[in-house]
């Protein structure tokens, strides 16, 4: 049984963060990140060719996190594999001891480092979650009985700030129907919108883990506002960071305030530290930091 799942289902406020596998075979930097942020977290997401850029697989790196004594959330995108490969990797993940699954669509290849790649998208994230839930029930997507089932704790992504909200809400509802039990949100800057989402989603029996993104430099803000259409940093927050004497310190202060607010609203927080891993403990205001 996943500790992360247990904590969420007990109503404990959970903390997650994420690590990126290397572009190469040297895992030492990832291990350092895991050692730094792992002790503050219930679970660590292991990204799957994030931003459509090449990295070592989430499957192998998730296993490394597990062997280090931390709990991974195995991320699976629909961009790089067809339904045969996705199902095969789900079975592999379970046998490797991976218990938490985050099913996401994945960024389009044309935004990544291999813009000439074919985006597979044989399935979408809702269909993938449906299939994983089916495997938990002991069968593959064709309904054939598995020789040994899975019992994944299945989650997905959602974006409380993206309008139109009525469409987002229906979408989230469908994901819950497909078997998702937790959502990790994209970065939250508007707490009222987070509250709106949590109020609507909690009655469906799904947990909401709110994303906090460390705006560690003005470049990060520019990148988000220019490249990631889905994440818009509001002007007052951008001004606060840009106008600070010590930008990194100000971003840590901002994230700390956001975490405090989220504790009052959501079921957990997901910290995206963008490499400023040593700050994660401070942002969470945990005693040993």
């Amino acid at each position: 049984m996943s500790r992360f799942r247990e904590a969420l289902e007990c109503g404990e406020f959970v903390v997650t963060s994420e690590v990126a596998p290397p572009l190469g075979t040297d895992l030492s930097a990832m291990r350092r990140a895991v050692e730094t942020i792992g002790p503050h977290c219930h679970a660590l997401n292991v990204t799957d060719n994030q931003g459509a850029t090449l990295h070592l697989s989430s499957l192998a790196a998730s296993r490394v996190v597990l062997e280090m004594g931390y709990e991974p959330i195995f991320q699976q995108t629909c961009r790089d594999r067809n339904r045969l490969a996705l199902q095969s990797d789900l079975l592999a993940a379970w046998t490797l001891g991976l218990r938490n699954l985050l099913a996401v669509t994945g960024d389009d290849p044309r935004s990544g480092d291999h813009p000439h790649a074919k985006g597979v998208f044989d399935l979408d994230s809702t269909q993938l979650a449906t299939i994983a839930a089916g495997m938990n029930g002991g069968h593959d997507m064709l309904g054939r009985e598995l020789d040994g089932a899975t019992d994944f704790f299945i989650g997905g992504a959602m974006f409380p700030e993206a309008e139109p909200w009525d469409i987002q809400l229906v979408r989230a509802q469908r994901k819950v129907e497909a078997g998702m039990r937790f959502f990790q949100t994209q970065a939250i800057f508007d707490m009222a919108k987070l509250e709106r989402a949590v109020e609507a989603l909690r009655p469906m029996g799904v947990k909401v883990i709110a994303g906090v993104l460390l705006l560690r430099s003005p470049r990060v803000i520019d990148f988000i506002n220019r490249r990631l259409a889905g994440l818009m940093v509001p002007e007052h927050i951008a001004d606060r960071i840009r106008g600070a004497d010590d930008v990194a310190e100000e971003s840590i202060a901002l994230a700390t305030e956001q975490v405090r607010e989220i504790r009052q609203i959501a079921d957990g927080v997901h910290i995206m530290s963008l490499g400023l891993d040593s700050a994660v403990g401070r942002i969470l205001e945990t005693k040993d930091s």
Binding site: D108, D124, T126, F159, A162, R171, Q186
Partner: protein
């Protein structure tokens, strides 16, 4: 219609050089490539001038009525038999289907003069957009006449994806998200609740190469 665009000129001259071709016969198409302004009479004559300027001899030219129609293209080729025989190669300003039809109709080496890019809707004169991928498993009945497989850059049946912002697409940021459009139109038509989770698509309907033969079973199996 099939949308084409001019092929990179150096690829064409490399193709001709690969067989040491000096004399070229040009074949356009009176259908799609004429509407797309890539292989009509005007473009064929422009290409003729460019080839001649580059030192090639253009032995003749034709614009087939429907170049992908094998019978018609064979007839057109017979009409220009001498000019084609005088050439070392035939350069076809038509889609890939037209190029292959010409290649079946003549004995000379045939090269493509265009790139075939998509099945396009003519939005207005000179403006073409891809709306259908001919997947063989139509979902337009469920999606309010808007195809997510084609107009969502990721081809998602269930959306929007996590990148949608203010109703806009993450990949093509100047466009409205296909899934937002679908949901809105369903709502406007009072069909708001009809789109559940769409199951994974049947891609076996798109197995290559496609073929339809209405003469099979004497055309008797159509409903």
């Amino acid at each position: 219609m099939i949308i084409t665009r001019p092929r990179d000129w150096t690829r064409i001259t490399d193709n001709l050089a690969s067989i040491d071709a000096k004399g070229v016969f040009l074949m356009g198409c009176g259908q799609c490539a004429t509407v797309a302004h890539t292989g009509g009479e005007k473009e064929v004559l422009q290409t003729k001038a460019v080839l001649e300027q580059a030192g090639y001899t253009v032995t003749g030219w034709a614009v087939g009525e429907v170049t992908c129609h094998l019978g018609g293209t064979k007839l057109e080729s017979r009409k220009h038999h001498e000019d084609i025989e005088a050439a070392d190669a035939v350069l076809v300003l038509a889609c890939g289907a037209g190029v292959q039809t010409v290649a079946d109709a003549v004995s000379k080496p045939v090269f493509p003069g265009l790139e075939s890019v998509f099945l396009g809707n003519v939005i207005r004169h000179g403006v073409f957009e891809e709306r259908c991928q001919m997947c063989g498993d139509c979902v337009l009945d469920l999606t309010a006449g808007i195809c997510p497989v084609t107009t969502c850059p990721k081809g998602l049946l269930n959306g929007p994806c996590g990148g949608m912002w203010d109703g806009k697409c993450e990949v093509l940021q100047d466009r409205e998200c296909a899934h937002v459009r679908i949901q809105r139109r369903l709502k406007e038509q009072g069909r708001g609740g009809t789109l559940g989770v769409l199951p994974p698509k049947d891609f076996s309907t798109k197995l290559k190469p496609g073929a339809v033969n209405l003469r099979d079973k004497k055309g008797g199996d159509r409903p």
